[in-house]
Subunit: 184 residues, 2 copies
Amino acid sequence: MPKQRITKEMILEAAFNYAKEKGFEQVVLKNIADEIGCSVQPIYSYYKNMGDLKEQVYGEAMAFYQSFIYSRVDNERLLESMARANVEFAKQETNLFKMLFLNKIDGLNCFSDIYEWMGDKNATKQVMDRYSLSENAAKEIYLMLIIFTHGMANMIAISGANIPDEEIIEYLEKAYRAFIKAHQ
Amino acid sequence: MPKQRITKEMILEAAFNYAKEKGFEQVVLKNIADEIGCSVQPIYSYYKNMGDLKEQVYGEAMAFYQSFIYSRVDNERLLESMARANVEFAKQETNLFKMLFLNKIDGLNCFSDIYEWMGDKNATKQVMDRYSLSENAAKEIYLMLIIFTHGMANMIAISGANIPDEEIIEYLEKAYRAFIKAHQ
DNA sequence: CACGTTATATAACATACATTATATAACATT
DNA sequence: AATGTTATATAATGTATGTTATATAACGTG
């Protein structure tokens, strides 16, 4: 049998990069095949259909997002650094951000669910300890900062605005301090 | 000449309602024709092409949004009532919200631009007067509440979460008070 | 009431995409 | 080197959409 010129990894990588550079909507059969420089067959030999490939691309994007965030986490300031990282992600990786966060996510029914979804227990604990707050207060601060962060990230991603990092940090800091102060 | 059974208004109304009930992506030729119960020709007799019709639908949606917001404004509490109305809009008219706010909007380059875009001078003035704040402080509060509101609206629209109005109001109030308090 | 204008319908054509069928060519095994 | 397996390419098919061409039918005007 002939050796395979095209590997599954090549396809997934090409598709992921296409999503990253051109947007998820551009992940269509012909674009990926052209990108690799092959016909459509190798793709169908590894993936049942395009939906299958797109799911994998989504998974890659999520992994990329997570490593993006975690590589920027400051352990001394979990909440603030995660908020910054999220907005930076929206600014730098707009296509991935839209793909991950501007589409329906199932199973969220109230804000506490949202907290569970994104919540990081350590960050909550850090806020509790640092400001001598109850768990509920810390959770609420966390939740409100997530909402604010999400709003900022969205506006940046949607508008394509190139807002300087200092300004982003400034507003995130202000929101964070305001939410803390409200509980003191 | 035969009298026209189909008017331009019928088409635009059908298309707008389709966008409102089923989502903007569903505004496609055949759906609208079927909805009205006509062929594709009447649509092309009034609109150059589908893009033309979609633009008009977008305009209708914007007008609908504005009257939705203004009908809910409390003149005594401009900022808070507008924030609430925006989140309510995202909750009740999710399809229109996505169409209007989850797509690119040109010409925004920094947060002060965003302020100019959505800014309501009267609301700013009300905050200045009520809390004896400088114009800059009031503007900042306004901007931060817009960001928070947008974040909440987005999360609700995207997740489809049916969060009770009381909870929405509670969090908006908390954010508002926190931003005010930060300046005192 | 015949005629011409035009509103609407039907149907053809174009394009973009996914999917499947067939053809070709590489190479491992004999 | 011949053969069979299979990786890949080319080409056909299907479906959804938009657009345009042709046909039909309504009706105002002479």
